[in-house]
């Protein structure tokens, strides 16, 4: 069964992971690409209709050749020019990369695109979709032959912490050494849960909201024990705000400017 990430370990012992694209997202990207090809061909057909007035034979030949060139060359040229992306892939933030993290080569792009001929069999990419679903790295046959994978790089929405935490006194910050310990002990997944709970707080039923924040506050209280004067009288939801503030906003500075490519 496929996993959602591909981890690559460098010879230096560093591990980085690539998020793998699923068959459905890839199908949607392919559908968009199909639409783009159709638009291109329609525009070309209009242009060639003028050529047809002068020479119908030449227009028919050009039409056959350009249909062939566009349908095959679209993926090859765009993936080469945009380093593994087509219009559909750009829209869904997908990218073709080398399976071992190496530089994507032109011949890899050619191979994976030409092997669409069998991936698309018998119709609607059934063979490719099946291969993609069965392969643990989500590779269709073309990807297998070319040693490529399709990854997704989702845009991470930067939470509006200023809006979320503005104007609130954070009692936990009175103890910087404990706040630092909290930052170290909380796992990324736990921090994300706390943040999401706060961001979506208005979507919960009142009783469920109280229960959820109670459970979360108990969990985070067990991570680091703050002195009583920092926690007494602080409601569970406010305690969680303070925890998120400590984790996501180091010091009093604003969050790091978004630089991810």
């Amino acid at each position: 069964m496929r996993t959602s990430t591909l981890s690559i370990r460098t010879p230096e012992g560093i591990v980085f992971s690539q998020l793998l694209a699923g068959p459905v997202t890839r199908f949607l990207a392919w559908f968009i690409d199909g639409l783009c090809i159709s638009v291109l061909l329609t525009l070309l057909g209009i242009a060639l209709s003028f050529v047809g007035v002068i020479s119908p034979n030449f227009a028919t030949a050009l039409s056959a050749l350009s249909y062939f060139a566009i349908s095959i060359g679209y993926g090859i040229l765009l993936e080469w020019a945009w380093r593994g992306q087509t219009i559909g892939k750009k829209l869904f933030r997908l990218r073709v990369v080398d399976v071992e993290g190496m530089r994507l080569q032109f011949n890899q792009i050619v191979t994976r695109n030409l092997l669409r001929f069998i991936d698309s069999l018998p119709l609607f990419y059934l063979v490719g979709g099946l291969a993609c679903w069965l392969n643990r790295n989500g590779q269709r046959l073309g990807d297998l032959a070319a040693n490529t994978i399709v990854i997704r790089s989702p845009r991470i929405a930067e939470p509006d912490l200023d809006q979320l935490l503005a104007g609130k006194f954070n009692s936990l910050r009175q103890y910087p050494h404990l706040a630092a310990r909290l930052r170290q002990r909380v796992l990324p997944g736990e921090a994300a849960v706390a943040l999401q709970a706060l961001l979506r707080r208005d979507e919960f039923e009142p009783a469920a909201r109280v229960e959820l924040f109670g459970e979360l506050a108990t969990h985070f209280r067990s991570k680091v024990e703050f002195p009583a004067d920092a926690t007494d009288g602080v409601a569970d939801e406010q305690y969680l705000r303070n925890v998120v503030d400590v984790i996501y906003r180091t010091g009093t500075d604003k969050p790091m400017e978004k630089v991810a490519a």
């Binding site: 993290g101 190496m102 080569q105 011949n107 297998l144 070319a146 991470i156 630092a180 630089v259």
Partner: protein, 344 residues
């Protein structure tokens, strides 16, 4: 362990920015070459960023920073650890006269196999036509089963007007695209462990053998040669090379007698597959022109001897091209590599 994350990020960020700048340049300028000092700095920045990633990975905060560093390390890793040649400018003439024939010769075994499978198909088709005349309805495509060869020759030679008048260009475009599609399909079917490629080659052989025997037994050998040779001597080898590419892919997939991993085997043949299929496309464009503008014309328009001679010259040139072109460069490269290996 990072004690002060904020201080850590502030201290390291200039390095990450510098690495990102180098990577952007490397990716946008394929011909960009660094000096030794720049290379050292690039490697230093990569190692430092990788170490920063290792430090920050266990830290709960700054998931954005971790993603950013993963992205940087992934990109730099590809640039630093890549051992294949960096593809710079394309030299079409060098590719055609050196790379293509050299690649063809490197996989000559797969080509011979492709020829053998096609010949087996030819024999099957020929024998079937000789001993079971009804099989022509199954083995012959494009309406050739509808009339005897002698009837067709009579009809063709009695033509007084140009049937393809005004349609040469569109007909040749149709032939080119159709044949290239069939070739790409033959290559792609290599992913079925070669079974699909073998079926395609055999089927092509069956059609060729059946039609050839049909014309020969009906006493139309001269017409057959004049009709098929001008384009066939290029088109048939092109399909055979597509089959060769499909078999190369299949052999890499199966990996008989090789101790390398599947990924390594496929990586080894990837560039050769692209080269072979582009070569096939070039050959088929030529064959498409010849078929539309020459092959479909018979006596009295063009004497068969002229067409046969034209085909023979093409065949000789193709054999010379595939067997001799790029040989000197290959020898020189081989000798240089041998000298380098021997350390002389």
């Amino acid at each position: 362990v990072i004690i002060d994350l904020q201080k850590f990020i502030a201290a390291e960020r200039p390095n990450w920015a510098e690495l990102e700048k180098i990577l952007n340049r490397l990716e946008s300028e394929p011909n960009y070459q660094m000096t030794l000092e720049q290379l050292r700095q690039f490697h230093h920045l990569y190692e430092r960023t990788a170490a920063d990633l290792a430090k920050i990975t266990t830290f709960s905060a700054e998931p954005e920073t971790r993603r950013y560093l993963e992205n940087l390390v992934a990109r730099a890793y590809g640039e630093i650890h890549e051992t294949r040649d960096k593809q710079r400018r394309i030299f079409p003439l060098k590719w055609f006269f050196q790379t293509l024939p050299q690649t063809f010769r490197r996989h000559i075994g797969a080509f011979y196999l492709s020829v053998a499978i096609t010949l087996a198909g030819c024999v099957f088709g020929g024998v079937a036509t000789m001993f079971d005349p009804d099989s022509r309805h199954v083995t012959m495509a494009f309406g050739h089963d509808q009339m005897r060869p002698s009837e067709r020759v009579k009809e063709e030679e009695s033509q007084t007007r140009d049937r393809l008048s005004g349609q040469h260009t569109s007909f040749s475009a149709y032939l080119m695209t159709h044949n290239i599609k069939v070739s790409v399909f033959t290559l792609a079917l290599g992913m079925s462990w070669g079974i699909g490629t073998i079926v395609m080659l055999f089927y092509n052989g069956v059609i060729l053998g059946a039609i050839s025997v049909d014309y020969i037994t009906d006493g139309q050998t001269r017409f057959l040669l004049g009709w098929l040779m001008p384009h066939g001597v290029i088109e048939i080898p092109a399909i055979l090379i597509a089959g060769q590419a499909g078999l190369v892919l299949a052999l890499a997939l199966i990996g008989w007698g090789k101790r390398t991993s599947l990924r390594a085997r496929l990586r080894d043949v990837s560039r050769d597959l692209a080269t072979l299929i582009f070569g096939v496309a070039v050959l088929l464009v030529w064959a498409g022109f010849v078929e539309a503008f020459l092959s479909q014309y018979h006596e009295p328009f063009i004497p068969y001897e002229v067409k046969i001679a034209f085909g023979a010259v093409e065949l000789v040139l193709l054999i010379l091209f595939l067997s001799r072109s790029g040989l000197k460069v290959e020898d020189t490269t081989g000798a240089t590599e041998s000298r380098a290996l021997l350390g002389v």
